[in-house]
């Protein structure tokens, strides 16, 4: 009991000290690790713990990013105040998608595909309707003051991402020890058996997707505030969906630290390929190379290591 606590304390100390010791660009990379772990955790709560694999989680991310940006740019809201509204919007979208899909009895691959289609509908709408400014995207006016959710020093963005990541870890931890989490795992392992045990499968699945949607939307707002720009391709494109799924799957779907481990791993691969590209001129296109590695890792993980890299750290098998 003490060992994990000690490890967490050491990890947290290292994470807090890290940005004080390294140059700015490494601070930003660290920030991306925690941010990606955060949105990955939002996927993991629905896709990992509850087993509702989604291919279109970006729909929540984009909803959050656009909600806060529109409130801020068009209606002059303060972004901190717009943040909870964005989360509520993401939760609402999650609720609607869940009620529609689960009412229709969609499971497994069908649920994955319908989330992809929902994200696509949102992307096309964001491209076409006037209040998102269409394909041009939306710019947030740069005014780097903390009250505007904008920071001059990247260290504060880093600490905010770290905080989000810690909150997401606490939520996941809470899931592993609450009855709600136990019910979700039961649903993942065998939905019919869970129903036979008296679990209201529909209600639990709706709840978890709403929670996951709200979390992911919080990430969307964070992203928009960091880059001060969003467009339909960023906010609703398939790439972010795949990223969230990848970090969870690679790290270990349905585990507390899976998304964080996955995020570390993927960012590490990214940096190695970036370094390779600077050394070997033939490999100057970095992004595709790291994605090739991710794709291979996903295949290997699903085929050989279904509990992800986390299972390498575990001493005892999970299903004892």
């Amino acid at each position: 009991m003490n060992r994990p606590l000690l490890l967490c304390g050491m990890g947290l100390t290292a994470a807090i000290a890290y940005p004080l010791l390294v140059p700015n660009y490494l601070v930003t990379i660290g920030m991306l690790v925690f941010f990606t772990a955060f949105i990955g955790q939002s996927w993991n709560i629905a896709g990992g713990f509850a087993g509702q694999t989604s291919f279109g989680h970006v729909v929540f991310f984009g909803t959050g990013a656009y909600t806060s940006t529109i409130l801020q740019v068009t209606y002059g809201w303060n972004p901190w105040l717009a943040w909870p509204i964005a989360m509520a919007a993401g939760g609402a979208v999650g609720w609607v998608i869940a009620v529609l899909s689960f009412r229709a009895g969609l499971r497994g691959s069908y649920f994955a595909l319908i989330t992809l289609a929902f994200a696509e509908v949102f992307r096309i709408l964001a491209n076409s309707v006037p209040f998102t400014k269409g394909g041009l995207g939306m710019l947030i006016k740069a005014d780097p003051r903390p009250i505007n959710f904008q920071f001059k020093d990247p260290i504060w963005v880093y600490y905010l991402a770290l905080l989000l990541c810690i909150v997401s870890l606490l939520i996941a931890w809470q899931l592993t020890r609450s009855r709600f989490g136990a019910r979700l795992v039961a649903i993942r392992e065998n939905e019919d058996a869970a129903r036979a045990l008296g679990i209201d499968v529909f209600a639990e699945k709706v709840k978890v997707l709403t929670l996951s949607g709200a979390m992911c939307a919080a990430g969307g707002t964070f992203y928009a505030q960091k880059y001060l720009y969003i467009d339909p391709g960023i906010a609703f494109g398939v790439d972010k969906s795949v990223e969230m799924l990848l970090v969870s799957m690679v790290g270990g779907a349905g585990t507390i630290f899976g998304p964080l481990i996955g995020s570390f791993t993927l960012m590490g691969i990214n940096e190695v390929t970036r370094w390779l590209a600077s050394v070997v001129p033939a490999l100057k296109n970095v992004q595709p190379l790291s994605l090739v590695v991710y794709g291979i890792m996903l295949i290997l993980i699903v085929a050989r290591l279904p509990d992800g890299l986390m299972s390498l750290f575990r001493r005892r098998p999970r299903h004892a």
Partner: protein, 290 residues
Amino acid sequence: MFDPAFLFAGILNGLLAGGIYVLVAVGLTLIYGVLHIINFAHGSLLMLAMYAVFYLWRLIGIDPYAALPVVTAGAFGLGFVLYRLLIGRYSHGRDENILLITLGLSIVIDNVALLFFGGDTQTIDVPYAGTFVEIGAAFLPLPKIISFGASLVICAALGVYMARSDMGKAIRAVAKERQGARLVGIDVENVFAVSYGIGIACLGAAACLLMPTYYVTPSSGHAFVLVAFTIVVLGGMGSFAGAAVGGFLIGITESLGGLFLGEQLGQIGISLIFILILLLKPTGLFGSKA
């Protein structure tokens, strides 16, 4: 705007595009019907075949239509090997697993293509691209008509093959009842590999028929994957007749959507149909079971 001649031309154009979609969807529905797996790499494999057609033309000067036998055979071989090495080993158990594996496969294919072929849009200039045929008030490009006809011929040939040949009968037997098929001595694993190969061969043929009028980029797979799934779900997973009807319906939907809603918003029709079918009638028009 609502000129009937305009509408007529839109529907004809949609039918022509739908003819090729049918071929793509038949491959997907065959794989689903026999193997009960959802091949998420379908779009990416089509993109790969389109690049094969492009480079055969660019490097050796082979006309896309003339390349059809080679590319189709090559695609069959690729599908067969992919099944033996990857898909077959992991296509059992949870159905999301194979979906995730084929997603991984599509990520690998898309990005390998980006690494080797670059991100530029590539097209083939065939000498007959500018030839138009007048039907009623509509002017239709000749290559689209050729491709449409060829696609239907290939689908019909596949239908005959499935109905008459020993392998076709074996495939249908496995699709219906794999345990029973195994008991009467059918090599089920081989049938699976051949079915996956045929599914991918359909993509090879479709790539040859698409390239005279379409373009290819490493992200072309994305554009096709949702279209193909929509057709298959609309027609009913595993149903050949459904894939045919669905292909035409989606072709027309896309064409009319573009006509009335504009280029951007016009694409929404396909995703909406996909969502509505899954929510309201997941068995599709011709499907027997969900």
